[in-house]
Amino acid sequence: MSETNSDETQTGKAALILALGRQKRNLELLAQMLRNNGYEVEIATSMEEFDGLIEARDDIAVAILDVDGFTEDIWKRCEQLHDRGVSMLILAASIPPKMREEAHSRGVHTLLEKPVDKADLQATIRGLLRYIQREKEQEDQ
């Protein structure tokens, strides 16, 4: 697949994407699509699982948060991820302007309303990874 090259990190290893969500089927479909595109995917259906994965893996490139609503728990995780330099993508059925503003203020890069177009989602992830790549290249210089 043509995307595979851009989906790999500088080391040549598949980028790791962490997905959090309560609906298991959503995560399965998301993981299936991402894996088909050459990414490594970890999924978590609870905050505890999510926290565990954040602790265990230090190579997370992007975190996708499939949220039912915007709660303090979510904002807290956003801040943690931001502090660790992980790019974030939030998926929600409805995103009021106030919440969109709040999310960006906590370091979330992109917010998409569900249902999402697969092509849009794939393009967004590719864009985020390229952004990360460019950031790293600038840091290295």
Binding site: Q23, R25, N26, L29, L30, K114, P115, V116
Partner: protein, 499 residues
Amino acid sequence: MSDVALERISSGVPGLDDVLGGGLIPGRSYLARGDPGTGKTLFGCSFLSRGVKVGEDALFVHLEEPEADVKKNAGAVGIDLDGVEFLDLSPNSGVFSSTQSYDIFDTDENEQTTFTERITDRVGTLSPDRVFIDPLTKLRYLTSDEYQFRKQVLALTRFFTEHDATVLLTSQNTSHSSDDDLQYLTDGTVQLRNGEMGRSLSVPKFRGSSVKSGEHAVRIGDGRPRANGENDGVSVFPALDPAETDRYTVGEQLSAGVPRLDELLGGGLERGTVTILSGPTGVGKTTVGTQFMKEAAGRGERSVVYLFEETTPTLFERSEAIGIPLEEMVENGALETREFEPLDNSAVEFANHVQREVERRDTSLVMIDGIDGYKLSLREADQRRLVRKLHSLCRYLKSVGVTVVLVDESATVMGEFSATDSGISYLADNIVFMRHLELNGEMRKAIGVLKKRTSDFERTLREFEITEHGITVGETLDELEGILTGEPQWTTPSEDNDE
């Protein structure tokens, strides 16, 4: 292309092949459309079951009902689906659980590929001769717009054609989603209906062949074997085609076996004509009709009497009492009696019964007893339509040389004479009427002929009696007047007459 040039395969539904001019054309796609409960799925089951019976591979792609339910429903009406391959694309109860529901992607984007891939994969593996997809309109929910839906349907039908499969699709027509467009995408359409007057179908489109026009009756069996040998499952009863019934062949005169009755009729009833026996209750209409059937039996001909107003045992009992051995005639195969349960049949089904009796069992005389019962027993909203269907049936019977006797009861026992009360006199070539009359304080009977299209007839009335020896017709009643009023007067009073 001419009809004969195309190969046909049976639809699996008795009667439908007749409507379709021989059956479905292999390798083409057909649409069965209709409201819920019209029997679309059962038509598909019959189509597949027939394929298995003749050694073909048959695939049922079901998108709504689970396989177990499909088999159970088909089995309940006597359709055997053993040997049919199933591709289950129906939702299971898991979709209600949180583990199966999703909102992250649109349904069309997520499932449509799976849907079409699973069908094409299975067809590619099995190479079925017959495919039934129930309902195809489910695909509409898996495509983003109408254009995509049409494109998918066309692609699927072409795929089946390339694999030489004959395909039957069902569709659901709803107020917010019409299935009209599907008719343009398939080679033929069978429109099913289930109205107040029973089940029916029509075939508005059939590429490559002419079909029988009109509304044809449909019956769905109850799974029990039928004593009369009729097919269970789904059956179609083709409506009579008026174009086929325009040839009239009036044949030789048939004697009633009662010389004076023959004299009244100018020699008898002509073969291939319609005769109405009209008169009030108890005057002897059925008896006169059975007399013609007895004579037909004597000539080695078969008759059928359709009873709408009395039972077979009652008819046998009455006839035996006057020396007409109907039961014996039935045993000898010279007569068949058929009772019709109220509202169990439509007029088209009845006409189809009669047609089959005539065509398959060489019947020469048909008696319908009586017209009021016919009107009450058959399902039809409009009485005028019932009479029109009777007219069509009579035209058909005449065209094949069958003699028809219609028994019609007039409302008044005496007085206020009219030929018939049923508005059917125009159907008749012959009208024979019978009247009760009171003469010198005694109830007596008279018989006369009012109309005869094909020969001359006696224009006087005769007294007649029904005794244990049968029908006796007396001399002409030319010394009486006012007979039709029921209270005749002697034209030349005499001592003898006053007795």
